[in-house]
């Protein structure tokens, strides 16, 4: 551990002047303390991911022989090959994409439609409807898990895509977020459209929704991320191997069938890639989305 610590500040040193530019100014001792703290943090944040990626390219023998090493002595692809051979990996990957992708698309559509009514239409029962949305936001997911499982059993929806997707195809949080966003859009916009004879659907689809791109991006990123990463829901709905998503599949196989670490690490790396790529391109929406909610 202590080797990490000493290595850290050195690696970060070049950036130190930038730190000193903070408004409070301050002496170099404080700046050093700051970058030692951040250096330790950086090492702690980065090393597990570096080790994970490098481990996925290492042989089992290398892992056991050189546990102190962060990097492979020789690179092997057997982890990545094994993941396709020993797990129904393609199926898991497809399931994850279908589950996260389709559910997110539906959530955006349904949530924005619902929010359009709640934010921009006047009707009797609007407040009650909104209170019900807030109520469903407050109750922990675990409370509904068992009854929903039993419902899905009666519908014959266990181990099906519709069972995975439809119960999650709307989120109270998304409705809430869209509503806040729609409320701030000036009412003159749709009044003008209404005078021109546009229908509600058309106002929603062609006036309001195009203005809501930041809200769409936030809900898309947040929802997609949560669904892609979710364990408990797919674990409960999909009891058969062929309907599981990556997190559920990796956990179950990690526990039962696969003993080779590189294979599991390779699976984990592959499951990480889409999220990492999305994060790279849409950082501000990840940050904005997460800042506005908890993760679940």
């Amino acid at each position: 551990m202590s080797t990490d610590v000493t290595r850290a500040p050195a690696a970060v040193q070049p950036k130190a002047p930038a730190g000193r530019r903070t408004p409070s100014g301050g002496d170099s001792a404080r700046s050093t303390a700051k970058w030692i703290y951040l250096g330790i943090g950086l090492v702690l944040a980065l090393v597990p991911f570096i080790w994970m990626v490098s481990g996925s390219f290492r042989s089992e023998a290398d892992l056991f022989k050189n546990p102190a090493s962060l990097f492979p002595t020789s690179i092997t692809l057997h982890g990545y090959i094994g993941v396709w051979q020993q797990l129904p990996f393609l199926r898991l990957l497809v399931n994850s994409f279908v589950f996260a992708g389709v559910t997110t698309a539906l959530t955006i559509l349904f949530d924005s439609m619902c929010a359009y009514a709640l934010a921009r239409l006047r009707f009797k029962g609007r407040n009650i409807a909104f209170i019900l949305v807030l109520a469903s936001l407050m109750v922990p997911f675990q409370v509904t898990l068992i009854p929903v499982f039993i419902e899905l059993f009666h519908f014959g929806w266990l181990n099906t895509y519709q069972g995975l997707i439809i119960p999650r195809a709307t989120s109270a949080f998304g409705i809430f977020l869209f509503r806040q966003f729609f409320i701030d859009i000036p009412p003159e916009l749709d009044e003008a459209a209404r005078l021109d004879g546009a229908s509600h659907w058309r106002i929603y689809w062609q006036v309001i929704l195009p203005l809501a791109k930041p809200a769409i991006a936030t809900v898309a990123v947040l929802n997609g991320m949560n669904l892609w990463n979710d364990l408990l829901w797919p674990l409960v709905v999909s009891t058969s191997n062929t309907m599981q998503t990556l997190p559920a599949g990796l956990t179950l196989f990690g526990g039962n069938h696969v003993t080779d670490h590189a294979i599991l690490l390779a699976g984990a790396v592959i499951s990480l890639v889409p999220i990492a790529v999305a994060f790279f391109f849409a950082q501000k929406y990840f940050v904005a989305g997460v800042a506005q909610t908890g993760l679940k």
Partner: protein, 319 residues
């Protein structure tokens, strides 16, 4: 024009096999004649899903909790508060409650402190700050399964980097996840490791909202750095502090994925959290009624803690 609009929407939907909202279009055309239907049509998909899969199940769950409901049993006898009384005498439940409370208290305190310090250090918009912030934030978006797995391997006595480095330094190997005493602290460490960047982002958002004049005034008064943080920064970000601690508490109280992946609740139930217990009773042992009672206790405790936190922070506000 209208057909062009409908052309895109339903096709996106039928892929998921959902009820196509095509109905939302035709009534919308009829809107001018029957304006009262439109809002309900717009809300229909969400309302049906929330009704069937959230609101009704909440009621249902409460109902189950009063029955000795076992999946597959021929009769499901009504037991009144029997499940709750049984819970009260169940050492497994008290253990899970203690584990969950320990996990929550320790991680929330650590996350608040570390998140706040990190946010203070990285609130500036320099390139270096933004890069470091992204690195710290990254674990937040990675699944708990991946994180749990990687740390489980990192801490593994025979292949893990941690013990490997310890051995190089001549330090003894430590049973991080298989020791009754160390397993929970280790899981807490990994949880904190994952969420520090999350707390940091919330605090940075809060710090941005503090009016600059307050700092200037405090500078003029000759307040030191710590004094400024204590008497200006912290009181100014009280809403953020409340929001962050609430979110973190609710999240920590529902800890499941990490435990499930890293220890499975062991060794000897040392990391058996409430949701882990709920999962085991509900989906492994199929004791639906009992598990439902656990979920309601979970809900009640989360509500109580949330109210306490609201109270606590409001109380300070009056000072």
């Amino acid at each position: 024009m209208t057909s062009e609009i409908t052309g895109t929407a339903p096709s996106r939907v039928t892929r998921g096999g959902a009820v196509p909202p095509a109905s939302a279009e035709s009534p919308a055309r009829r809107r001018r004649r029957r304006p009262r239907i439109a809002p309900w049509l717009f809300m229909a998909p969400s309302a049906i899903i929330l009704g069937v899969f959230v609101l009704f199940p909440i009621v249902r769950s409460l109902y189950y909790s009063f029955f000795d409901w076992t999946v597959g049993a021929s009769t499901q006898p009504f037991v009144g508060f029997g499940n709750y009384i049984k819970l009260f005498h169940d050492s497994q439940f008290w253990n899970a409650l203690r584990v969950t409370l320990e996990y929550t208290v320790v991680s929330v305190v650590l996350l608040l402190v570390l998140g706040f310090i990190t946010a203070l250090l990285l609130q500036g918009e320099s390139l270096a700050n933004r890069i470091v912030r992204s690195v710290f934030f990254f674990p937040t978006i990675v699944s708990l399964v991946t994180i749990g797995m990687v740390w489980k391997f990192l801490l593994d006595p025979s292949i893990g980097l941690v013990d490997g480095l310890a051995a190089t330094l001549g330090l003894p190997s430590v049973a991080w996840l298989t020791s009754v005493h160390l397993a929970l602290p280790t899981v807490i460490f990994v949880g904190v490791w994952k969420s520090t960047g999350f707390a940091m982002i919330l605090f940075i958002a809060g710090l941005k909202g503090v009016p600059q004049e307050r700092y200037e005034a405090s500078n003029l008064d000759g307040a030191g750095r710590w004094q400024t943080i204590w008497s200006i920064t912290l009181p100014s970000i009280r809403p953020t502090l409340l929001f962050t601690s609430l979110i973190l508490t609710i999240q920590s109280f529902q800890v499941f994925d990490l435990v499930y992946v890293m220890t499975g609740g062991g060794p000897l139930y040392a990391t058996d959290s409430l949701v882990n217990l709920l999962y085991r009773d509900g989906f492994v042992n199929f004791q639906t009624g009992y598990a439902s009672a656990i979920s309601w206790v979970l809900f009640a405790i989360i509500m109580i803690i949330s109210l306490l936190q609201l109270r606590l922070f409001r109380y300070n506000d009056v000072d």
